[in-house]
Assembly symmetry: C2
Homo-oligomer: 210 residues x 2
Amino acid sequence: MEVPRLRRAGRPAPTESLPEAAPADPSERRIGGEIRTLRKARGYTLAVLAEKCGVSVGYLSLIERDMSTPSINTLHAISRALGVTISWFFDAGEVPAEERDLVVRRNRRRRLDYSAGIVDELLSPSLAGQLELLASRFPPGSSSGDAPYSHTGEEAGVVLRGSLELWIDGKIFLLEAGDSFGFPSHLPHRYRNPGNEEAEVIWAITPPSY
Amino acid sequence: MEVPRLRRAGRPAPTESLPEAAPADPSERRIGGEIRTLRKARGYTLAVLAEKCGVSVGYLSLIERDMSTPSINTLHAISRALGVTISWFFDAGEVPAEERDLVVRRNRRRRLDYSAGIVDELLSPSLAGQLELLASRFPPGSSSGDAPYSHTGEEAGVVLRGSLELWIDGKIFLLEAGDSFGFPSHLPHRYRNPGNEEAEVIWAITPPSY
DNA sequence: CTACTATTTTTGTCAAGCTAAAAAAATGCG
DNA sequence: CGCATTTTTTTAGCTTGACAAAAATAGTAG
């Protein structure tokens, strides 16, 4: 990236950034890996995601291994199918190298939006590892839906503010700020914000899932 | 964007997002306009930017009018030449429609990075209008450089914290928190943070420039 | 009004975006 | 452990969109 001199008070820097033949910044190589990470966190096979995106299985495989670069329209389709914005694929490249995969600054949290206004911000540097840490916000009345779900792994969390009603395998718990929980994720579970103000929860999950 | 049901506690939504033939979200049409806006704020002609990007003049014109869609690599080159990250081109599409072009949330400020660690965050919704409002942060010792610059228009600002040494047409002013300034931009000007802590300035400029 | 600059339009090439099918690898179950 | 099934990778091939170069048009300044 050309770092411009400030135009407001300085003559623009002489053009140093002559068109480089190609050696794209390595961080630009991470689209494929990001796609695969999200796909696996979602639990999709290549075939499922390919169908959601409207591309072929083989092509998606090539994309994930950075052997093909999708068009912007195709990348939009992929991002939609994975439930993220297209910027997600480029965000990792904007983190300073010494902090990459280690630290997440407040203004660089990656964001996942769900139905009912539920928002997750990723506190762990990546979904690619084994541990996912989220800051989840639940508007009043929002819920995960009627159908409980179970999957492999484990999760735990603590309510920072507001209240959260947690249903685990037939038992209901009302959690307030300061309360916390943990359970193996194969137990059917669902949740809801029963209050009239936003709830915020720090949530940990292994393996990553969203 | 497919808005996923929460996987942590709900069975994934049945696939409703069958591959749409094409009608891309209108917000995805804004790459070209964003490029043209930045190019003009930078004061570049098509020919200058095309040379910086390594593409032809005609092709850049088609891109700016959304009559062609660049490859991701080309878009990266364009973003570098304009001194922004590629996410800039997609950021506008992520703003809720009722707030678009009106409100900038703190977590959605668009960011411009300059040499010497100077950072601008765009407080106005866009550079496309007539008025640009910025939150500028200057690390200790950073400056706009030795060469003063002048351009058309006018600018003004107020120091929120730290100190800023402002040089305008041969006169030097040391500004502290609470101090403010304003001048027609055709006067040669430059600035520097002389202190040992970060300075922050709210800066307004017309017409937009960076 | 004219000369020059900036932008748009047009024509054309070709390789990259992408498919479908086959091959290989991985996984799960008995 | 062997086998059937699923998942992923590889391969061969099509086509159209990414992109260049040049000509035409529009805009600007003196």
